[in-house]
């Protein structure tokens, strides 16, 4: 399969990338690892007139810690993410999740920024990013801004990222040290993408009650979402099989649950509940 013809240009800096995008009159698309974009272009599901390659912009690379957050450059590959000592030590669930993406070859090329900017609910990073209260650091025509992950995913493959803006880095919360976390995925048997993926982070205070809980769910709904009703149902509760089951039953509440040939809406709702229950049991019981 061969994409439609397009022009290609490499941007040397973030400013240049933004300018090239402005000049492209809506024809342009940024190219990072190309592992979501190129497959779509091969099927001619998208036909940009110009690709602006941002993959060699140094400022978009690197991982560093700032207080209780890790700042991950948008161009960090999935492989770099799960191999990085800072990530493994501080946010193990982020490393573990990156390790479940696609296969070895995909993880060598695909980037964290591309994964989130692509906003495919079946991808693995959106749920974890929601649970880790990600802040999307963006640079555009009017300078820098930060977009909260809660308002970032607007629809399937649609984000709040302005068309001429570059996602420069993503800031992830380092969960409090008394918490545990897990990402559980039921992968589509053919594609390997998530039919459901649940990232749960939770901890129990000195009084034995749950005092911290974050749940991000991808795959089942058109847009990945944070399951705040489940979180609220658990806060202040004792971590028991019953309290977890009661809360997990609310896992599909906040999502616009999808429906396709492989998985009906009812089946997806059930998957969300079952995987949320399993994830919470894994870290709380």
């Amino acid at each position: 399969m061969i994409p439609n013809a397009f022009d290609y240009i490499k941007a040397g800096s973030i400013e240049e990338a933004i300018q090239l995008m402005q000049e492209s009159d809506g024809e342009g698309k940024f190219l990072a690892g190309g592992h979501s974009l190129v497959p779509l272009m091969k099927f001619r599901l998208t036909n940009p007139g110009k690709l602006i390659d941002i993959s060699s912009i140094q400022e978009l690379k690197g991982i560093r810690q700032e207080g209780n957050r890790l700042i991950v450059g948008a161009l960090t590959t999935h492989k770099q993410l799960y191999s990085d000592a800072l990530v493994k030590e501080n946010i193990a669930v982020l490393a573990d999740t990156a390790r479940t993406i696609g296969d070895m070859q995909i993880r060598n090329r695909g980037t964290v920024g591309g994964n989130l900017a692509h906003a495919d609910s079946a991808a693995d990073l959106p749920g974890v990013a929601l649970a880790l209260e990600a802040l999307m650091e963006v640079q555009g025509e009017d300078g820098k801004e930060v977009i909260d992950i809660d308002g970032f995913f607007l629809g399937p493959l649609v984000t709040a990222l302005p068309e001429t803006s570059v996602l420069t880095s993503i800031s992830f919360l380092i969960p409090p040290s008394h918490t545990k976390s897990v990402y559980l995925k039921y992968a589509h048997p053919a594609s390997g993408y998530a039919v459901v993926g649940v990232c749960a982070i939770a901890g129990v205070g000195e009084d034995g009650r749950i005092d911290f809980v974050r749940i991000g769910i991808n795959g089942v709904a058109d847009v990945a979402y944070r399951a705040t009703t489940v979180e609220q149902a658990l806060l202040g509760e004792l971590p028991t099989a019953e309290s977890i089951q009661r809360a997990a039953a609310l896992a599909a509440e906040e999502g616009e649950i999808g429906n396709d040939l492989f998985a009906s809406e009812q089946y997806r709702r059930n998957l969300a509940t079952v995987y949320t229950e399993r994830a919470l049991s894994r870290i709380l019981l």
């Binding site: 592992h35 099927f43 696609g102 070895m104 070859q105 995909i106 090329r109």
Partner: protein
């Protein structure tokens, strides 16, 4: 009309130049322009891994990389491994342990397994099967591929051991 691009890359240690359309995939550059037909194309969905090559030491699916993205990079294909006189340990492993039947998947499988062995010189069976996720073989049922990779790992370890002893005893200088 879109502009063609001039690119220059190293393929199996040889510098190659080409004037190409940006939409040309790396797999097609290798096969159609450079006549390196050992890199195969087995699917349209980036799933089969028959097209796997190394770019700057990382294993990637060349059907999902634009040739322009490989500009200035070092590419290794199956033709760059060994020859009949001197097989690469991974080729030796596949040869001795019957790691192939029709052979269509083999170039991509061998390159991707070099990627595994670079990271993990002594993988368990489970780790080998996990790393095979990115390739599809319709013939072997994977068992002989696993044996071939284990054998290759052993050959590489033995080779390194020989190198170390010759270095420390000063033999072969």
């Amino acid at each position: 009309m879109t502009c063609k691009k001039n690119i220059s890359l190293s393929v199996n240690g040889v510098t190659r130049q080409a004037e190409i359309e940006p939409r040309l995939l790396l797999a097609h550059l290798l096969r159609d322009e450079l006549n390196l037909t050992g890199t195969h194309i087995g699917c349209d969905t980036s799933q089969c891994g028959a097209c796997t090559v190394m770019v700057d030491g990382d294993v990637v699916k060349s059907c999902t990389v634009l040739a322009v993205q490989a500009d200035g990079k070092e590419v290794t294909t199956v033709e760059g491994l060994g020859d009949m006189e001197q097989l690469h340990p991974i080729q030796q492993g596949f040869w001795e342990k019957h790691g192939l039947q029709c052979g269509f998947c083999t170039p991509g499988v061998m390159i991707s397994m070099i990627g595994l062995l670079k990271e993990n010189p002594n993988p368990t069976e489970e780790e080998i099967r996990d790393a095979l996720e990115g390739v599809i073989c319709r013939c072997t049922g994977y068992q002989f591929i696993v044996s071939a990779v284990q054998h290759a790992a052993q050959l590489i370890a033995e080779g390194n051991a020989v190198k170390e002893t010759t270095m420390s005893t000063g033999e072969g200088r």
